[in-house]
Symmetry: C2
């Protein structure tokens, strides 16, 4: 039985996971750590974690499951720092948004005889505003929590036997958060997520930056746009600090998806007065009905 | 005092206007007409209009205000057909999404000595799903209802004296719907709306069509996208039948905005690993805070 879970990184996803554990009835202890102690205290204040550890080593000692919920490069740093400390009776898991690099690091540093297990995860949940103060258990309701455990040529490793039970227990909690689970391989994850998650973000950033250039100085004109404008710019509030690591670790897939969208927009632009425009609307209509 | 208003075209905007008039306490009669009598009956059924006229001439006879709420080319047709029938004691107004062509036609066919007045309007409200069955008075709450009455070189005409009072009365109702009003000239309207309304739509159509091509055949993968994907594809459900006329009557401004977005996306694609990416996020963040 799980007695203690450590959450390293008490931002939106880390703190929301703490709240979701509590909402689902997790009876054990939740200890947190955050690079900024002030942000960590916010997670204590709203009940996301029980207490704040002074450093990562204190946080992981005695915790059966350790959740890494920082930006991607910080996850990779933490994985390195903890690799000499964790034991086969512990399971490390994460919420990083790109998975190829993290999964490869997990199989190199963990998932080996005599070492702790590493279960690479990615909950498809979030908000445009980060931080523990915006955390809520409900962001996981009906979301998909992906695990990139499937073996592939690039990713031959498997969880060590001792970690299998802890991983099963973690999945039970994830299910209790209201999530559906999906196991795919890490390379396919990064390719797929570029389309359905990274492209929407970079698209929203590009569109919002363009609109700021064009009408940003006139509040009245911003108001004119209504719901369509509000919705298509909501993700424009997302912080660079989080997306920089995603852009760095999934560059090729994101660049491919952006290029495909540029071509699609050009096609529409060149066909504003031809029947080809109908085909684009029909295809888009089909997605929404499908 | 207004005794009767005619609504020609009882789709989403026409029927919602009828409901908004009732919600605001309009005491007079509302008569409707629709090209498809079945759709017109749906507007009678939900109380958007009191009765359905068999033809446009029956609808306008005895109505002090006539609202044109059809797609743009149909508005232009109706304006032609009614120009020989309406009298100076009547005001024609519309809800068309592009205004340069409609405003010019209004000043040519109406707004002349001995003729009815024409007040070009555009409520910035809507939904991705059309039809009287989706109508609701609330779509106008806090929306901006634009009038393109301001004189400019292209648009020298003004309302004839007899129509001024009816126009003022119409504005009083629009205000009662919960709208703010904005008067700008028609050319500026079309240019501005290309950025804040037409570009979001064509962008959503392009993105949604692309995603349908990429992952449309796998329901599981569609579910992965979560809120960001749902939101950025919502407008993908918009019908071609409505947007065709907009594309035809505001082609240059829409093409310019699409081209600017293509360049912005290419800039982001080329800078996924440079500090330029931060500038784009900062600019987008500023719009959302502004």
């Amino acid at each position: 039985m799980l007695q203690r879970i450590a959450i390293l990184g008490t931002g939106l996803l880390g703190a929301s996971t703490g709240l979701a554990l509590r909402a689902a009835g997790f009876p054990g202890e939740i200890i947190g750590w955050n690079r900024s102690p002030e942000q960590g205290q916010a997670a204590v204040s709203n009940g996301s974690i029980d207490s704040l550890a002074p450093d990562i080593f204190t946080a992981v000692r005695g915790s059966q499951i350790i959740l890494l919920a920082t930006p991607i490069y910080s996850i990779l740093d933490l994985m390195e720092q903890l690799s000499g400390v964790l034991t086969p009776a512990q399971l490390l898991t994460d919420v990083g948004s790109t998975k190829a690099i993290i999964t490869a690091a997990g199989n190199r540093l963990y998932n080996q005889p005599g070492r702790a297990g590493f279960l690479p995860g990615h909950p498809m949940a979030g908000k445009e505003l980060g931080g523990a103060t915006n955390a809520e258990a409900a962001i996981f309701h009906n979301a998909v929590w992906i695990f990139t455990t499937l073996a592939s040529d690039d990713n031959p490793a498997q969880l060590p036997p001792a970690a299998v039970e802890l991983a099963a227990e973690w999945r039970t909690w994830v299910k209790a958060f209201g999530c559906r689970m999906l196991d795919i391989d890490a390379a396919r994850h990064d390719e797929l997520i570029a389309w359905v998650s990274h492209l929407p973000q970079f698209l929203a950033t590009a569109f919002t930056a363009l609109i700021e250039d064009q009408v940003g100085d006139t509040d009245e004109l911003k108001a004119v746009g209504g719901r369509a404008l509000r919705e298509m710019t909501r993700l424009g509030a997302s912080p660079y600090s989080m997306w920089r690591d995603i852009a760095y670790t999934n560059t090729d897939s994101i660049a491919r998806s952006l290029h495909a969208l540029e071509q699609r927009l050009a096609h529409i632009r060149e066909n504003l007065r031809t029947p080809e425009l109908r085909d684009e609307f029909d295809l888009a209509n089909r997605f929404r009905k499908g």
